[in-house]
Subunit: 532 residues, 2 copies
């Protein structure tokens, strides 16, 4: 396998690139385009990728959990086998730096292996068996057996801010493949080379594991045509996306307007409010300022879980915290953002804050920004609850290393602010145990507003495990019922199928009496991993 | 509680009816309107119902599983306590007959009690706990705890064809209340009195169990304004509907176009194809004809699972089956449909069949139809695979007691027909075990096309149990991922919430270390009903 991107689309096991648009990746650190040239897919190639996915589906969905597990593990192995050239290409395309990208590669391969273990273990299908009662009155009870099955071909859009963990072999790809759905990736153009290298790793795993050709394809495209064609294609059965509210809503609207509507799982950003309660503010306001600054500036603020809003009570403790934040943010070094478009949008967001009455800048990075290196500085602002409530633009995410501290006069203002929140991915509470006991009403409100509530931590850094949830009510995501991180993400790409009065020979292994998969099932209402 | 409907809307614990439109129910058997007059809700009353639901939600969602179970059981008790007046009113409004309605009441109360047992047992929340690993390298692992929580206020549209089991206290109401979501029902105008009586039973249960006032409301409305207002109301978080493709799609489109899109679970009908395989056709074609006629005419063909399409191989066995079907359908007595609109639509559908080249009428009810009594006769038709494939109108549901037999020349034509199917609620295979073994490819195709596959039975009659699925890919439903029957229906009205590093005092009972609910959870990847 070549360690350099060739500028190609990967359609099944072939290379492609007959589109009439081409582009190059941009190195934000150097401020210059880099080789090679990427050619977008033609509409025939897009159709071919979906046709192949449609042909692969009946075969791929019948692969056992063990076979899918081996395949996912092989993808992880192939990604690791690329070695440093992957990290170097990725750093060149994103400016995220080798240490962060080494971590992100670990997370990417870790989540592929976690989904492998999920597929291998197999209980995720939520199998249920109700056995027949032929002599029940007034009517016999039939034998009914239920399980989750894969939905069909899935289109995954690569995310600019996670070139590995939410892109070609990212979370949605891992969970869709684990469920038994072929995947067609629309690569993000700002890391097209990274996507191609990872795509070739998946292609190699498809070959090595004897999976059907259309199990995976990866499409480049400059502009919206390719994305639209993929979402509108009749073979597509679901869409995964991470990006802006505007972009995610556009895909959602396209999918809802199809003759056959399909689900769109779009994660669209979030302010991730942090509530600092009185006891904690008094006890450790300065340490909180340090932690907050670290979380806001992590990855140059380019995380969906970036804490962009802090709420606490005014007073001496607040003032001390603000003083500490002033130092911390002032000392934070400017850093390279993913691309000039994101940097420009960040600066436009700062300008909005700057112009809003009642909002004051507390501090910004004191070192000058290197514009050629696409740098941005950290910012921290303050306002009061009235200005916050009356300026809706302050509730919109500014993607980058900035946060706004809202000073409230009393607990009832904190509660009012919580009640007025839209949907967010996360909310965080900093407090003593006493604070928490005195603010259980706040927890109750946040349970209805966000996907994950963190106590005495920071929302950045999303653990990949069975119990994680990365999602939240609209507008944080287009479908607040589901998660993009953690093993529950597999449910995105599944639907129920029931078999009634079927002989054993016609049943999937997961539903047979002898439970050959050894999975946990609900049999006549009881959890068991035994046979019927 | 009055045993006669008063023509009122039930908004929380009050009666209402300030709308400017009124209507009466129609007795299809008598062919005449019946008292009382129902007044639709005004837009203020619709808003009031949703506001009350919004206020009830934070309180109702915190009720324990036991409290919700007692409430659901109380609703069932109150419905039974109405006694014969409920069945009589319902029969007057639907013409379905006392025996069927007695059965449907049993099913309605049975599913309320099944959801009560689900809420009481509690494991449905899919609780997961991953405990912290503070010394993990390179980063500590946080404690993460995940569970399903209720989505928010749900709007349920009553279904004309199940005045009890899919209406005011029907499946969606039961699963939404079990999940912790308040419900606002839009009563179906063709059984408004039935809805009011059942609504009053729920109102009584709300009072008796001390649930918040807005836990339940029931709204009448003539025309679309009320339904549109309910779906567009910002407090509404999900919609359940059973009815026509046109009606369901309209609600789906409204919901998708909201500033905050919400899920619509619309069940929109289905042809429910039945495949009769060669061995079974030879062995028991005549018995199959009897069974088919019974299923097609059950409830005057007004089931979502009515088998409207039969596919088998031509030949002597087919001819014998057709002969038997001719007798059976000819002998089937005409019967009263739900209302004149449904009867007229049925007749229009028959006319389409009659005019389609290549479609022949095999038989219809030989007894004359009583038009005043809104009667319709049973019909059975034949065609061949080419005429079926080239006339898309033959793949559209005709709601009523009619079915179309498609004669195929060989197995490959059966497979072709299966591959061309759109989404359906069910498919049925009649065959010997040998037939099934020789048609596992057919099963594989059907797994991708329908929600439930029945072997040697008929699709009408949907068992309410843990393992049931009533749903299917579009256009059978607007969301093929979910079911409207069986305990898995509770997932419709839920979303995930994760608690990270929370002290025990801030956690819901379901996620506490000591597992006070005694539920099954996934703790560090292992199923257990023990403590952490």
């Amino acid at each position: 396998m070549s360690m350099e991107p060739q500028g190609k689309n990967l359609v099944g096991l072939s290379e492609a690139g007959a589109g009439d648009k081409s582009f190059k990746s941009y190195n934000p650190t150097l401020g210059a385009e880099i080789e090679p040239e990427f050619v977008g897919a033609s509409s025939e190639e897009v159709d071919r990728a979906m046709q192949l996915a449609g042909e692969a589906f009946p075969v791929f969905r019948r692969k056992s959990g063990e076979e899918r597990a081996v395949f996912l593990e092989k993808i992880a192995d192939e990604i690791e086998a690329i070695g440093d050239p992957l990290l170097e290409r990725c750093d060149a395309e994103t400016g995220l730096g080798i240490p962060r990208l080494t971590g992100e590669r670990g997370r990417t391969c870790g989540q592929l292996r976690l989904f492998a273990s999920l597929a291998r273990e197999g209980s995720w299908v939520d199998a249920r068996i109700d056995t027949a009662i032929p002599d029940r009155e007034p009517l016999p009870k039939p034998d009914a057996r239920l399980m989750l099955m894969p939905l069909g071909p899935v289109v995954v859009f690569g995310a600019s801010n996670f070139p590995l963990a939410f892109s070609a072999a990212g979370g949605d790809t891992a969970s869709a493949l684990a469920a038994g759905c072929p995947v067609v990736v629309k690569a993000h153009r700002s890391h097209a080379g990274t996507a191609e290298l990872v795509g070739r790793a998946i292609q190699a795993a498809v070959k090595a594991c004897g999976m059907p050709e259309g199990t995976f394809s990866m499409i480049h495209g400059d502009g919206r045509d390719v994305g639209t064609a993929l979402v509108q294609h009749p073979i597509t059965k679901a869409v995964g996306f991470t990006g802006s509210l505007k972009g995610g809503r556009a895909l959602f609207d396209l999918a809802a307007a199809r003759p056959e509507p399909i689900p769109v799982y779009a994660e669209m950003g979030s302010l991730n409010p942090v509530f600092i309660l009185p006891g904690a503010l008094e006890e450790r306001g300065e340490a909180f300022a340090q932690g907050l600054c670290g979380s806001v500036t992590l990855g140059v603020g380019q995380f969906c879980t970036n804490p962009g809003l802090v709420l606490g009570l005014e007073g001496d403790s607040m003032d001390k915290f603000i003083g500490a934040a002033e130092s911390a943010f002032g000392e934070a070094a400017p850093a390279t953002m993913l691309n000039p478009g994101i940097r420009d949008a960040y600066e436009a967001g700062l300008e909005t804050f700057d112009k809003t009455d009642g909002v004051a800048l507390v501090a910004k990075s004191s070192t000058a920004v290197d514009a050629v290196a696409t740098q941005a500085g950290a910012h921290v602002w303050t306002t009061d609850i009235d200005a916050f409530a009356s300026n809706p633009e302050l509730s919109e995410e500014v993607f980058g290393p900035t946060t706004l501290v809202v000073k409230c006069k009393a607990k009832n203002e904190l509660i009012r602010a919580a009640n007025q929140l839209e949907g967010h991915l996360t909310a965080t509470i900093h407090g003593t145990e006493k604070d928490l006991e005195e603010h259980l009403d706040l927890v109750e409100i946040l349970e209805r507003k966000v996907g994950r509530i963190i106590f005495n931590g920071f929302p950045t850094g999303v653990e990949v495990c069975h119990s994680m949830h990365h999602g939240g009510p609209y507008p944080a995501t287009s479908d607040g019922r589901s998660t993009s991180v953690g093993t529950a993400a597999i449910f995105r790409f599944t639907r129920l199928v029931c078999f009634q009065d079927f002989p054993q020979v016609g049943l999937p292994d997961e539903l047979r009496d002898d439970n050959p998969c050894g999975i946990w099932r609900i049999v006549n209402g009881e959890q068991t991993n035994g046979a019927v």
